[in-house]
């Protein structure tokens, strides 16, 4: 059976050049980077090279990169570390309503510790209004965290404008760039970003390697106390092969970024164009200002999970967008934030393309998906419309 992987926002296969770079650090260069003899020094050098490569991807300084084990860890570190470091100055934090749960739940945790959190609303595309951000700031605000690109609806936030608001008020600005870093250009200097989370497996690096960029001079409370690894800010013996892989993946992402975008964007557009020909399908997120390989929809009268299972039976692997809908069968907060009512949000489906996606893959998808939707609608209790759901209007329809 032909298989088509359209879930690149969940994770990516490791790039062969990345794997090649990592292998010696599982074998002959197995040393602990803190050891002062040759194998340790080799490992230390490799980590510092990876730090330079990772920093270069976002125009940061190597010393501003702290390696972590995941994007979620980087987000936890940023939110809690800055909040605790700044709590003598103020205890107000601003995030958006479409943050990843690693930001959202860190903020909720801080609320229990006496912090006040403002959850900024978004418009029908998922954009945050810089004017609304300005109004939300108080003299107690110490941190603003806004996601760069939503993995669920693909929208790329105007981070530069939002970070400028923070800078004008002297407030620390963090962005969760896990879905965007390595896939679209990021320049932390130009964009006035103070902290940024990124994960290697989002750009063909290994899982288990991620990073938090922390602007030089920013005070932060360490997430893990212990040894002197990562400047004493994230203790624990380093995952050397994974960090080496992250560095190589960052180098390749910088080198091949435009080529990758030029490859996936036309294919993605073809997928969107074809899918929108199906009746009662809504594109979620912004039509243009979105991640280059990202297409997300809500399909009326059918369940997202049913579509995914039928697609998988045809060898097409995709996602419904959020753990809320796929695991907890709850409406995704991101979709409800952009005005999708709960009953429609259940029909969410996300397709994300990667450098290995081919025109044949998209043709196969375009041929298969309408048939699946049609089949599911035939057996849907709502095949004649949303009877009994009239009050739940959708404000995100174009």
């Amino acid at each position: 059976m032909k298989t088509v992987y359209l879930d690149h926002v969940a994770t990516n296969p490791i790039h062969p050049e990345v794997l090649e770079e990592m292998l010696p650090y599982f074998k002959e260069h197995f040393g602990n980077p803190l050891s002062i003899y040759e194998p340790g020094l080799k490992a230390r050098e490799a980590i510092e090279k990876a730090r330079e490569q990772t920093a270069s991807l976002i125009n940061a300084k190597p010393k501003e990169i702290i390696f972590t084990s995941s994007g979620a860890e980087a987000n936890n570190f940023a939110i809690r570390g800055i909040a605790y470091a700044m709590q003598n100055k103020g205890k107000h934090i601003i995030i958006s309503k479409i943050e990843h749960h690693s930001v959202l739940n860190s903020a909720r945790f801080l609320e229990k510790q006496g912090f006040v959190v403002t959850y900024l609303p978004v418009d029908k595309y998922g954009f945050i209004d810089p004017e609304a951000l300005k109004k939300a700031i108080t003299d107690q605000t110490v941190l603003i965290s806004i996601i760069h690109a939503s993995p669920e609806i693909g929208t790329i936030q105007n981070i530069e404008a939002l970070a400028r608001v923070a800078k004008e008020r002297g407030i620390i600005f963090h962005t969760d760039a896990v879905a965007s870093a390595g896939n679209i250009p990021i320049d932390v200097q130009k964009m006035n970003i103070d902290l940024l989370s990124m994960a290697a497996h989002q750009f063909y690096g290994p899982k288990g390697a991620a990073a938090l960029y922390i602007r030089e001079g920013t005070r932060i409370v360490p997430l893990i106390y212990g040894g002197i690894q990562e400047g004493g800010r994230r203790a624990g013996t380093e995952n050397v092969p994974a960090i080496v892989g992250m560095g190589k993946a960052a180098e390749l992402a910088k080198r091949d970024m435009q080529k990758r975008i030029d490859h996936i964007k036309p294919l993605r557009d073809k997928l969107i164009e074809n899918t929108l020909k199906i009746e009662n399908v809504i594109l979620t997120g912004h039509p243009e200002q979105r991640l280059p390989g990202h297409a997300s929809f809500v399909v009326e009268y059918v369940e997202g999970e049913a579509m995914l299972l039928m697609l998988a039976a045809k060898g097409i692997y995709a996602a419904s967008g959020s753990a809320c809908s796929s695991k907890a069968l709850k409406a995704s907060p991101v979709l409800t934030s952009i005005g999708i009512p709960a009953h429609l949000a259940q029909g969410s489906v996300v397709f994300t393309l990667g450098e290995g996606t081919t025109a044949e893959d998209i043709d196969y998808f375009n041929e298969t998906f309408p048939q699946i939707v049609s089949r599911l609608r035939e057996i849907s209790p709502y095949q004649k419309g949303w009877e009994g759901m009239e009050d739940a209007s959708c404000t995100a329809k174009k």
Binding site: A85, R219, I220, V221, P222, I228, G231, G232
Partner: protein, 99 residues
């Protein structure tokens, strides 16, 4: 800090200052624990010239013992400590290049 204090530690005088001093370089290691205060001093002292003053901002209480001792061991001049609201400012004058 309101008064000048002096505390005896072994044979070393721990000198508290009434006012913060001028420094040629500053390193902020607030929230960093042992041994980052000592590793950071080593690194920063390499970056300044002989005769220049380094200020170290830390909230680590162990630094009260460790930094003056480090100065004594390395022969650099320990100028004193200013106790700020929630952290200490240590001042060290570089007296020689490390071999």
């Amino acid at each position: 800090m309101s008064t000048v204090e002096a505390r005896q530690y072994d044979d070393f005088q721990l000198k508290f200052l009434d006012e913060p001093m001028e420094a040629d370089a500053t390193t902020d290691i607030i929230y960093m624990m042992c041994p980052m205060h000592l590793l950071t001093i080593e690194e920063k002292m390499r970056e300044i010239k002989v005769g220049q003053v380094l200020a170290i901002l830390t909230d680590y209480d162990g630094a009260l013992d460790d930094i003056p001792q480090w100065c004594r061991r390395t022969g650099n001049e320990f100028l004193g400590i200013y106790e700020d609201e929630d952290h200490y400012k240590f001042y060290i004058r570089k007296t020689k290049e490390k071999r």
